[in-house]
Symmetry: D2
Subunit: 355 residues, 4 copies
Amino acid sequence: MAENKIKVSIIGATGYVGAELVHGFVNHENVELVHLTSRSFKGQKFSDIYPQYRGVCDIECSDIEYEQVAKDSDLVITALPHGVSSVTVPLLLENGAKVIDHSGDFRYKNLQAYEKSYKLEHPHPELLSSAVYGLPEFYRDELKTANLVANPGCYPTCSLIALAPFLKQGLIDTDSIIIDAVSGVSGAGRKADLAYSFCETDEAFKPYGVVGHRHTSEIKEQCDFLSGTDTKVTFTPHLAPFKRGMLATIYVRPSEKLKSMDVSNEVINKIYSDFYAGEEFVRVLPLKTYPDVKAVNGSNYIEVNGCYDPETGLVKLFSAQDNLGKGAALQAIQAFNCMFGLPETAGLKNIIRGV
Amino acid sequence: MAENKIKVSIIGATGYVGAELVHGFVNHENVELVHLTSRSFKGQKFSDIYPQYRGVCDIECSDIEYEQVAKDSDLVITALPHGVSSVTVPLLLENGAKVIDHSGDFRYKNLQAYEKSYKLEHPHPELLSSAVYGLPEFYRDELKTANLVANPGCYPTCSLIALAPFLKQGLIDTDSIIIDAVSGVSGAGRKADLAYSFCETDEAFKPYGVVGHRHTSEIKEQCDFLSGTDTKVTFTPHLAPFKRGMLATIYVRPSEKLKSMDVSNEVINKIYSDFYAGEEFVRVLPLKTYPDVKAVNGSNYIEVNGCYDPETGLVKLFSAQDNLGKGAALQAIQAFNCMFGLPETAGLKNIIRGV
Amino acid sequence: MAENKIKVSIIGATGYVGAELVHGFVNHENVELVHLTSRSFKGQKFSDIYPQYRGVCDIECSDIEYEQVAKDSDLVITALPHGVSSVTVPLLLENGAKVIDHSGDFRYKNLQAYEKSYKLEHPHPELLSSAVYGLPEFYRDELKTANLVANPGCYPTCSLIALAPFLKQGLIDTDSIIIDAVSGVSGAGRKADLAYSFCETDEAFKPYGVVGHRHTSEIKEQCDFLSGTDTKVTFTPHLAPFKRGMLATIYVRPSEKLKSMDVSNEVINKIYSDFYAGEEFVRVLPLKTYPDVKAVNGSNYIEVNGCYDPETGLVKLFSAQDNLGKGAALQAIQAFNCMFGLPETAGLKNIIRGV
Amino acid sequence: MAENKIKVSIIGATGYVGAELVHGFVNHENVELVHLTSRSFKGQKFSDIYPQYRGVCDIECSDIEYEQVAKDSDLVITALPHGVSSVTVPLLLENGAKVIDHSGDFRYKNLQAYEKSYKLEHPHPELLSSAVYGLPEFYRDELKTANLVANPGCYPTCSLIALAPFLKQGLIDTDSIIIDAVSGVSGAGRKADLAYSFCETDEAFKPYGVVGHRHTSEIKEQCDFLSGTDTKVTFTPHLAPFKRGMLATIYVRPSEKLKSMDVSNEVINKIYSDFYAGEEFVRVLPLKTYPDVKAVNGSNYIEVNGCYDPETGLVKLFSAQDNLGKGAALQAIQAFNCMFGLPETAGLKNIIRGV
């Protein structure tokens, strides 16, 4: 049976993104997990590190050579730090595997933007042009033939899904896009760090990376592509005391075109509904209902809606996703489905949480 | 396709137990959900009340006659208050449906114990003898032919799975079983109640129902059955600031038989491993690893382990489950699988949560 | 001894704001609490409702006539809903008490703005001109002689402390002030409401009142006063899963004046330091350190800082306070100190929380 | 002014216990804080590490010689690990300071019990006999003349306050005392440890140290002293997802003496009321009201009550305290008040938290 399945390996399987990839793939009937690599937990079962998975995924973590991982797999997903991915991914590609990478290393077309944001020289800039930005809603066709997919950042996914209908259709001024966003603690990764301890995080709320957070340039580049102009993006992330989830509140000015449409809550809602008709994972909420991270917890869904403030003439756009779901691992599985000709919802539709 | 599926309806579908039943059944490929009834939310879509399910379960809640619900369904699951179930369930049975009931009304064989604990006269005591107590690990065979299943209480499930190997094999004194247990807030149900508001519940921890909690007599009756003696059970529940989950810490004295086995952590662990060999949903943890509600969150799994205190000669048993999972809705689905000849894990094995 | 103390009564003492007033006043050596009124809890001790205060404040709650409350008190603090305060406060004033009111009823000078925001006709508009807006940092002198103080809203306090130095000195464009803010759950008050239950609130985060929230017009009016112009204010509140605390992230454009000062993080920090020099409760944070609700939990402190985004030319301002502290009850005590000629820090300086 | 104050220094001031000591002492008008020592944060202000205290306690942390700390102080409080205290404390005493120590090193009279529990050889066993166990409710007189006070462990304080009336008066069997207890996360201290990170701790609940937790032998020794017999104590701690707080649920058998008193909830309540009459910090709750960690959050109060289970003949005792308050730092201040002839409530009575 397994021989008909697509062989997938995960490099860096024991971080939160890696674990969420495992979560998705054990529910995916077309996939066989081959290698789970982890330097820290070599020789331990995945379910020793994440006991939720006892009896569900008891694969032993290994640190076998990356070349071998690639040879044994149809797809390798890398959950590695930036700067490490840029060296590792070419090796995997050379050894015949397709790759979805979770770092920032292959998300940019503009090399300078990457090097400025990440303060690194890119060792393989030649791969940037062929790497596909893994947002299926925008790059579905490119994904079908991609060998290398750069899984988008969590904040970029959340922001771009909210902004795209307006940017693509010239409905907003592109010189003042303000994105105020909030992430759950899992966004910081799985690590021993006092700043993310329960006693320091619970009953706390604060901004961070207030100027020049790396995701700013990633969002901007995609906004440029979506609008065909040079956009200006202001972005502020905040850390909130919940495990998973992300919400973006976006402030934009309607363009003359949108003004001429008699901008209103109804018009904004219809723009979303029309643009995302047929998209399985983008939930355009009913009029006057706004996104809540609770409603997308644990899933690949993203919610959007917007409103018009007649007092100030501003438009507010809102989106909510799970930072580990649509914001990371589950979106990677959506992209994987595109890459391998599977229904885009395979293994994903019923991954939700109730209470 | 749907005509081959088993038709299931849920009465009281919008409480937390009802919603968790929906959660399980939308992941169950052998099931077609027919009616979701709700007095409070009649005419609204299930996903209007639980927006997590937009696009996943958009069935409209109704308040159609219970007779009709029964006629349209192979199985009806009732998530009704005690005292209401005892009147409703007979009506459903008469109209041809099998029933799994979530109240305390059909859990007892001893009518007096029920009436004393619930302070109600039972209108249909004749049903008590044929009702099957829905713990598949103990009553698997009876479930196969049951028309009426009484889904066990959350605390009883958690306590009994931990105690059963010791009670059945005469390994502990039955005159002093002390169960100290903790539940998440969802155990109180979905309702507007100041006591369960965020500001009153977060950073709080307290005992409740400290004498005569109803689940005490339910646990005692099953302990009597398991041991074949008249047991004495002391039980104290506590409310903890998490949504889902339940942990029991149980203090018992080894019997002469257990003492003669050179009781130790290893012996206790082996008793569990032997007794629950082959049980898919009972996780006997490795030696010196103890249950954590985090590891069973959202799932039908229950974890057990125990230890021996050489200073005092007491044995401690531990178990952890999700109060809405193995403690309520997902265990009902496990029982449903038994009732309808399906593999016991159908629709359940991969319902887990990672981070 | 008590005869030298200032007699204070609280109307509506058992809500969260009322309770926080009690908290502050039992620590205030110049104050004797006379009456705590509560319709819901008449005849019960305050410490029966808030058991934290057993042995600290065991005053019996009463529902005695408001006239009598006023006659027995030097100051009455009202924690009543808007529309109720506007009728009650005049009665208290007539009977000789000074009043600090927590509703929106006396916060506006512009009657139309109030009536539009609150959708009420004001029964005593003649009181609006003499009522003092209870922000001591701006209206310290007026408070000294005030008989009626309108305690500011929580969001307005948080926003205005952050904006004031820039508005007063012409440093920002006044036609596009964007305030994105977050509140803890206690902001919704003490009540049985499913929306604020633990299971619905924990692991949730969402915007609310996204257009036309009442505090918008209150903020705007004070921005007008501070700047001497007609300002445009966009405001979006969010609900976050913590009990207490509020954070505002504010986006503004530097005016020509600020641009000419070579706007930078350092310049913004100095503007704050200079403006709030000597203010005991406004903490201007060190350069590149930003407010966190954790650091002001339980106290009357408010933290501010800001930064400049050279990529977009925008200035971001941040402030954090406790919504029940500086945002409500403790600020009322600060205003009380002004009204009665006490040191502004009396009873307040050491009300803080550690871990 | 300061010259009339008692000079207090804290060694290890930046852990959670140290910080709570600072919290208490800045509210204590008879105390001048002299040195706050911290190896990790030498040269930083206390308020840089705990920004809550900006403007309240800006003392610079130092690592000056312990001899000098002792010479400059009337009292030195040590918040050091066990094994370190046993070496440091004698040095402080030799240099003329009185000492309150927070480790386990001086809590035992029985050297063997200490060395077995802590797996250490004690370098200064000669100090054990003169060290006073810092539970003011039991050792008030001894504290008046003590030079060295061993501040009790958090679990021991919680357990002993609940048990003492029964042990001292021969009201319970001493051969089977079962203590089931729960602590908030701050009990683990301030450190970077994955196990206490938000994502691993929230929505989790588990036992730990299930056999042989060090506090077991400390509790047992004091139970022996209180009862005058050789007691048997079974103890199980659990970790719960709140920052601060501790609850003990204790199961005991009534002795013949208690049985002859017609044991009932009322009788148990009266035993507590009589025993703790006049104790400022022990709150005996009203009949049928049971302790909640919420009600003692942030304070030096401890709540107790109990009940009788007529079905099994067992007595349950409950107590709740703040693990950093009565369970650690604030109890140390209560002991300090005794040592220096101050009213026992000095600086402590109004340290409470509302919402």
